[in-house]
Amino acid sequence: MIKTHHRTPSRSLETVEVKSKFGAEFRRFSLDRSKPGKFEEFYGLLQHVHRIPNIDVLVGYADIHGDLLPINNDDNYLKAIKTANPLLRVFLQRTEDADYSAFGTDTLTRKKNVLSNVLRPDNRKKPPIAISLPRDFRPVSSIIDVDVLPETHRRVRLYKHGSDKPLGFYIRDGSSVRVTPHGLEKVPGIFISRLVQGGLAESTGLLAVNDEVLEVNGIEVSGKSLDQVTDMMIANSHNLIITVKPANQRNNVRITRTSGSSGQSTDSGTSHPTFVASQHVVQNFHSEEVDSDEETDIVIEGNSEPQHIPVAASTSASVMSLTKSDSDHGLTPNGSIASSEGNTCTLIAAMKVDTVEKEDLNKRSMEEDGMVITL
């Protein structure tokens, strides 16, 4: 697995080993950790060692979590050198045929997924939109599943992984009004009660005080106690996906569903300031991600250094009920195109929408819609 780290016998704290890959070629060289220099110099060095002085390339590296992250300025270059442990693995891509979707969390593991590659065969051929790609950033949060959720709901993913920020929010008991066969009914619910200044939740702008929490990582919270929901959130804290009904319903992502093929989704015209300011990737929540984004335990053998615990070969059993419950919530593993105007980003996933299934799905989400009153 890629997650395993190579260790070299001759380790020294002063030097960083660089292993650079361009196409099928590898180059190895070392850098002085204390004097890494500027990004420009590093870029020049890479062009030099690969003997590609006139080719524009996109530089990426594999970080400690196994994610492919870009190197395109001094800051992320220094970060890459600092975290190299001790090997820095660098990947070069020609700018013209670079696959931008390859960057970000889980990108390396996701690429391994043959299925998703088959489902998105035309990925590479799409010319990238050249403006403001998320390549400079690491996602901290995202809105997902816009196409399968009712417009009144928002599914937010918080990437605690790799960030030092606390999740930083509080939940409380409360009650909401639902339409039931017996008329309007007050039912108990879980609400966000407080956001900690500077916390992850606050910085995303996607969660707000008095938002009702409907699901945690695909599992409905109705009928569960505050303590249970707290425990669920903490247990999922490394990759927390919360579905909320925002108290402020004016900033909802609206989906205009065109019949048949494309299913383009657009953002509503009015957008909240923070909503625009922060970077969000609108993407779909794939059930297989839940497991691939697994936290790794650390094992120290004897007196050696800590190592992440790899996942043993057969994990079929570990998919277990989580995936089952995901499918219960009507998530399709097949992605659908979701683009948003307000957001500067487009993430294009392959289209292989089973129309029947899609229709069925819409109906279901409509029904769900009927259960909720927007106050």
Binding site: K160, P166, L167, G168, F169, Y170, I171, R172, D173, G174, S193, R194, A201, N217, I219, K224, S225, L226, D227, Q228, V229, T230, D231, M232, M233, I234, A235, N236, S237, H238, E294, E295, T296, D297, I298, V299, I300, E301, G302, P306, I309, P310, V311, A312, S314, T315, A317, S318, M320, S321, L322, S325
Partner: protein, 1044 residues
Amino acid sequence: MKRFRRHGHELNRERIKQDLFQFNKTVEHGFPHQPSALAYCSSLQLMAIGSRSGAFKIYGAPEVEIMGLHEENAAVTQIHFLPEPGQLVTLLDDNSLHLWKVRKSPDGLSVLKEESHFDLRGQPGAPPSVTTITVVLPHSSGDVLFLGTEGGCVFVVEHPSLREQEERTITQEAVLQKVPDDYQSKRSLGSVEALEENPRNPHQILIGYSRGLIILWDLQISEATHQFLGDLQLESVTWQRDGRQIISSHSDGSYCQWPVSNNDRSPQPLENKVPYGPFPCKAIPKILWLTTKQRTPFIIFKGGMPRASYGDRHCISVLHGSKQIAFDFTSRVIDFFVVDEGESKSDSDEPSALLVLAEEELVAIDLKTPSWPVIQSPYLIPLHCSAITCSHHVSNIPVKLWERIIAAGNKQTSHYSTKPWPIDGGYSTASEPPQRDLLLTGHEDGTVRFWDASGVCLKPLYKLGTVGVFVTDADHNDNLNQSGEDEWPPLRKVGSFDPYSDDPRLGIQKIHLCKYSSHLTVAGTAGQVLVLELNDEAADQEVACTLVDILQDQDTFKWKGHERLNPREEPVHFPAGFQPFVLVQCQPPAVVTSLALHSEWKLVTFGTSHGFGLYDYQQKRTVVVRCTLHPSDQLALEGPLSRVKSIKKSLRHSFRRIRGTRASGRKRAIPGNNAAKVQEANARMDREALNEMELAPVQRRIEARSAEDSFTGFVRSLYFADSFVRDGSYHGPSLWAGTNGGTIFAYAITIPSVERRMEEPVTATQVKEIQLMHRAPVVGIFILDGRGILLPEPLEAAHDLSKSPDMHGNHMLLVISEEQFKIFTLPKVSTKNKLKLTAIDGSRVRKVSVASFSSNRVEDYSENGLLVLTNLGDIQVISVPTLRSQVRYECIRKEDVSGIASCVFTKSGQGFYLISPSEFERFSVSSKWVVEPRCIIDIDEGVGTRASQQKAVQDGAVVKANSQESEDSHQMLSGMTKSEDDVRKTAEIMEHALLNDERVLLEIQSTLESDSALTDRLSFGHLDRNSKNSTGIQTPKQRMINGD
């Protein structure tokens, strides 16, 4: 196609699950919490105990117990067995009467069913106290119940229809007609305090009023025939067996004897005595007068102690001639009754045993043996004599060990009476338990009690005290309570309930028994770990003491908790049984949180909130100590856990004390009095608290756990295993420790060969450290062998009791944290399989244990699984090694934190948890192994329903002579006419049926049912089991034939 096949497979799996798992709560062990009523039925040899929860249970011979539960959530204040066998009536504190019958369930077992209930209603507008029932008297004819009330009226209610007969109500006006004017004018009569039927004449009932007047009422002429003009506040009245004398007891601690004869219808008392005078005494709420052949009566009464010096004692005094003992109980006396051997024809009661229900225990006193010793009870044992601090279950004890424990226990019970348990009604049809199971409970006072948990009755086997190892303050107090012979009053302490621990540090926190080697280790609150060995002889033992510095000289930490215990220097004398030979004391002396023993390797390991240690008890040497503290974890150092707990406990005790004394000042729970007011106030406060909660809702912080959380070093689990920790080719002894912060440490242990075991040291080196990313507390560590089966216990394979583990295939490490189940490969640790419990449903693992589940359909099919109790009180079974949730049952209320904390599982898929401080609820998740009461009480429903041959037994009263057996031929005649009446009545009913009266139809149905029951009875082979007391049942039938 594939899906289809899968479906079929799942169906099959569901079927297997049904064969393996089934959830039942089967029986309560121990003593009912807050008992409130007691009754005794001499004809069936049964006893009933009601509690404040609205539940009541009938007890007979050991293992015979039947529970009845009122729908109303009100305390049971009185229980009375009716003259008809197997029927009883209960009075709740909401003033409702309930009629219950013992019936046969479809599978032939006896069950209790509520037949009907009745509320006494007064005139519209009358205050409720007028109809508040104070006394219930079921008349021996079985036709009617007399209800005495606070208002002073006696109401008559028909049985079994529970219909009020208003025309027969005995009003105060009717009573006062014959009372002299000068007596009348002084006072109103007050509430009815006593209703007693003349044992020799069922037409006469005695009515006692609280202001002192007692009258004898003749039911035939509906007139008071005798007046006993008492001027003392009346508490109770009782008849002498021959009907020639009555005895009344009073609120000033006195009792009076009054003659009953037709010569003087308004006599003066024969004698008025204050047994504990001359200083003011407390009331005597109940008195019994029992005659013997020797003419010296037994006088037994409750209370009456000198108010100033002994007013807080809970006493029952027994006077027999010149002999007098005031039995001093450990808690408030609820009620008592006497079991007698008096022949129904004879004039004497011949009391044989006194049974006293106190708030915290049931005590039986043998009155036949001259020293009046206590009879050891086979059930209703106060588990909580000292508060239970932990429990440990060991399944399938080898016979040898079982016998040795029993032998040691027998030496401890020599002071008990040799008489059998006096209550032996009914019989159990439960099969013999398939194996011998031990439940060990650790107590706050440093004792460990061994219970036979194989069957329906939790029987005490043996009690181990660890106090002797230490020097405590308690040593000097021992003799204080023992009073000399010439002391007055002649108090004698009885009962074992003693909630006040001398030293909280003695409390037992962890127990581990190896059933093969008979080695036991117990660990306590002050970091003490004892290793004990079973010895059949009493011996002086020198205990090897070792101090283990868990902090490993890290002097930045300061312990602010309690001191460690002081061990005795000199050898200590230990009675036969488990005798300690090693004492390890942790420094700092924090509570021992985890403990394991490996008897084959002679190693013991223990963990506290600071770290863990490994000790070789053969060489008496510490092998390794590891401090698990995180530098920022200040809380763990100061030992707040123990302190907070002890404060809470002492508060609870003082509250209990206050409550106890308040309650004892009251004779019975009457609605509208203090207790009700307190309850109401509590409810109001609860409501207010709820309202407040709505104003300021509870918030929960959502934050990933970090290494800096407190108590991360707290050692939660320890495990010994012979496995592959270093490499895949050599296996060897290893120690595994898991902490609260999700860290697991693995040590490889080197043990010298047997011949050099004493010379070469045992060594241990750390080979692994695993940090779970989710940082949840590690509650269980197990290792599975190459076949995916859990490694056997130490010595288990050596004793051929288990298949030896597969040491060829790859072993797997199973780690259970509060949030996840994870299987790792060994020796290289990589994740193989997992189940994320908390992420899915928000529940957390509280208790986990390995159990084997056998199929109840297929003979030798069984599966191993993990039995899990979550913080929501759910029980789950998780398969191993596939880690799939098999079943889930709701077991304990999630608010019942102490219930969840007390839960302990058995290896066969059963479990116990405390439903009150004194009661274990037993449950079973296995469909094969279910221990539940299966008992039969033989009742002949067809006979005696109308006839008055049955002995009427009132609440706690002595059995009176069977009226029909008396020499008085007049009575005999009347009895016969009664039987004839009976026949006629049946005919009447038949006629009524033509009128299509629904109620009558029901009545007919019941008569028909009883007819069939009668034939049933004849076919029952085991009737003779009750024959001793069933003479009264059989005679009526003969009579009826004669009468015809």
